[in-house]
């Protein structure tokens, strides 16, 4: 059952086996698997519950509805916009439906960093189950729009490594509005897959409910205190107190650590909220002399990972290029300049192409609670990262120019369009200064990292807190470093594995066979 907050008319005191906080890639999987195994589940989702009929394909209506802070969550210096879904289904509702695995070499890197003994083979069954649940398939050639075809041609012409994404779409008509929710139920996000499974199996999902505090005693977790909030004003309406034998925090890499810190739990080693990776992306825009229609068709189907590496020593490094679509409102905000010059560029919107240089980072940020209950996200890009960012931006610009684009626009206030390969050296001089440059992040990770040792990690390999019994963190927080260039599948397979490990202890945890 999914309960919208507006239908709750008074304070509630409840009892269940497990509380799940968050309904995105981590929480939805755990809620479904526990409920289907006969475990009582209550899930809290801070955002609302929306369906295809609510998705109007209008950016100014959908961003406030589906995104945390309406898409305005930024690092504290405003350099990086950190985009996260806040609705039943979480970021799976507003993502590009790209399905990428965790590189095999990464497991050895994590062993080196935190002593984790999880290996790729341990996740084989989870991959199989998750891919089947989401209906993951390789996108077909006919779905590649003109913007993505630019990168396809580059791959064919140069032999560079890359390909077409696997995707959790079924019956997609290529409308192009993936980032503001699929109006056709073609993107098989968590709100269409795992959440209905959880609900059918008896879980209760409270939408518009913010988990305020996890309660724990000497023997482990005891429950969760949550508030039903007004969807428009975010004001508290009613308190929900739940007693539970286990609590799973799955509120994402920004807000899971905040909940732990607010609760004063699980931070004995001071690592909660540390180790943040944002994987910042630089959007590169190009102007063609022919129609591209970057807003039409599946926005992201092709990638080039020629320059991406994964090794035991440093994890994922290098950079990759991915084409990207966007509506006019979002596209307009990443362009530099203003006035008639900005209008002149936007008037050619149908001839605009776009790509992102996606640059896996080393953990170099942290999350802390702000006075207003939201996150303070501090992030300091390293020089090593900035070098790869500039290389990625130049590579994207070169792909466009070699394809016949007439000008390249980088996401900086005062950098004029780059007209030729000779101009690309200007990118080497770019300094990512707040208010001058704008970067985007859609894959925050790492703030409650997993590992074998309580000295160097927040949760163990079963994703249970080293310090509080029966308290689990199951979302992108747990990755010791960037897990993949897209985090939905890595998060879901780790959640699937963790849920099965948790169920193996059902007698101990819940007194059930």
């Amino acid at each position: 059952m999914i309960v919208s907050g507006e239908t709750v008319t008074g304070d509630l005191t409840l009892d269940t086996d497990a509380v799940v906080v968050g309904s995105g890639a981590g929480g939805a999987v755990v809620a479904a698997l526990l409920a289907e195994a006969g475990i009582g589940v209550i899930a809290f989702e801070e955002g609302g519950h929306f369906e295809a009929r609510h998705f109007t394909q209008r950016e100014h209506e959908m961003y406030p509805l589906l995104y945390r802070l309406g898409g305005n969550q930024t690092t504290d210096d405003q350099l990086i916009t950190v985009m996260q879904g806040r609705c039943v289904g979480g970021s799976t509702v507003i993502n590009m439906a790209d399905c990428t695995p965790i590189p095999v070499a990464l497991f050895d890197h994590w062993r080196r960093r935190t002593g984790s003994r999880i290996q790729a083979a341990h996740l084989d069954d989870s991959y199989r189950r998750v891919r089947a649940s989401l209906g993951v398939t390789r996108l077909a050639g006919a779905t590649i729009n003109e913007n993505n075809a630019i990168l396809s041609r580059y791959l064919a012409r140069t032999g560079a490594r890359g390909g077409v994404f696997d995707s959790n779409r079924l019956g997609c008509i290529g409308a192009g509005f993936c980032m503001v929710g699929c109006s056709y139920n073609a993107k098989k996000a968590a709100h269409l897959t795992y959440i209905p499974r959880a609900s059918t199996a008896g879980a209760t999902i409270y939408a518009d409910c913010r988990a305020e505090r996890v309660i724990a005693g000497r023997r482990g977790v005891e429950g969760v205190e949550a508030w039903v909030i007004d969807r428009a004003t975010r004001a508290r309406r009613h308190r929900i107190s739940v007693s539970a034998r286990a609590v799973v925090i799955a509120a994402g890499a920004i807000h899971s650590p905040l909940l732990l810190l607010r609760s004063g739990l699980g931070n004995d080693n001071g690592l909660v909220g540390k180790n943040l990776s944002l994987q910042p992306q630089a959007p590169i825009t190009a102007l063609y002399d022919r129609t591209i229609d970057v807003f039409a068709g599946i926005p992201q189907t092709v990638y080039c990972d020629e320059w991406e590496t994964a090794s035991e020593e440093i994890g994922i490094s290098g950079f990759r290029l991915e084409t990207i679509g966007a509506g006019p409102a979002m596209a307009a905000t990443v362009l530099g300049g203003f006035g008639l010059a900005h209008k002149a560029f936007m008037s050619q919107f149908r001839r605009v192409a776009a790509m992102v240089a996606l640059v896996p980072d080393r953990p170099s940020g942290e999350v802390a609670p702000g006075d207003d209950g939201e996150a303070v996200i501090r992030y300091c890009p390293t020089e090593e990262y900035l070098g790869r960012l500039r290389a990625g931006m130049k590579a994207a610009a070169r792909v466009f120019l070699e394809d016949g684009a007439g000008g390249i626009v980088v996401p900086c206030e005062d950098t004029p369009p780059l007209r030729s390969v000779r101009d690309l050296d200007a990118i080497d001089k770019l300094v990512p200064e707040p208010g001058r440059m704008r970067l985007l992040s859609a894959h925050p990770q790492g703030t409650c990292r997993l590992g074998a040792s309580p000295a160097t990690s927040v949760v163990n390999e079963d994703l249970e807190s080293h310090f509080v019994r029966n308290l689990f963190v199951i979302d992108a927080s747990i990755f010791p470093s960037t897990s993949s260039t897209h985090t939905m599948i890595p998060t879901m397979v780790m959640a699937d594995r963790a849920a099965h490990r948790l169920l193996a202890r059902r007698a101990e945890l819940f007194g059930k066979r």
Binding site: A232, K343, M346, S347, F349
Partner: protein, 184 residues
């Protein structure tokens, strides 16, 4: 609606800029909370900005998206300031809204307080353009970020309007097109 403006602005922009912004908040004219200017989420449908703040936003939006040029419509004709004000009134973080207001006053008074120019709204249109160019290229992060945050809000609001869509050849939501097609 994208209204990007960071918290802890005063702590990050350097001492001179911090003093500037603090002064802007302290001036009686800046604190004036007379009748709200636009309809919004409040009990009586009010917006978040005072008429003076609304006027600054209107003047700012008019230079970010002026009328004419390659797209006929501009911020004024499409109600960009009104849309932002309404959005601010519905915003979940009052602190963020207050900082948006602070950014408006910084735009309005930054020239006066540095002893160089008039208030933003008292400048001629070419002066406003030159002044804003200076803000976005400023050495002070506070000024750049105030400009960038307000600019993004104006652009997002403008390019959410059908008038802008027709100016750039964007056909709008596919759902609307399907509806129009069915009704034709």
């Amino acid at each position: 609606m994208m209204v990007t403006f960071p918290r802890r602005e005063l702590l990050k922009g350097g001492a001179a800029a911090a003093v500037l912004a603090a002064l802007a908040h302290l001036l009686p004219a800046c604190r004036q909370r007379d009748a709200p200017a636009s309809g919004g989420c409040g009990p009586a449908g009010e917006g978040a900005l005072s008429p003076r703040e609304h006027a600054i936003l209107e003047a700012f939006a008019d230079r970010i998206v002026p009328p004419g040029g390659a797209i006929a419509a501009g911020a004024q004709a499409t109600g960009v300031a009104r849309a932002i004000d309404r959005h601010l009134a519905c915003h979940e973080l009052p602190a963020l809204v207050n900082q948006f207001r602070g950014a408006l006053w910084l735009i309005e008074l930054s020239g006066v307080l540095t002893g160089r120019l008039r208030r933003f709204t008292a400048m001629s249109l070419p002066e406003r353009d030159g002044y804003l160019l200076g803000l976005c290229r400023s050495r002070l992060a506070l000024r750049r970020r105030a400009f960038a945050g307000l600019k993004q809000a104006c652009l997002f609001a403008f390019y959410s309007t059908p008038e802008a869509w027709s100016g750039i050849g964007y056909p709008g939501p596919l759902l609307d097109r399907a509806t129009r097609g069915a009704g034709a």
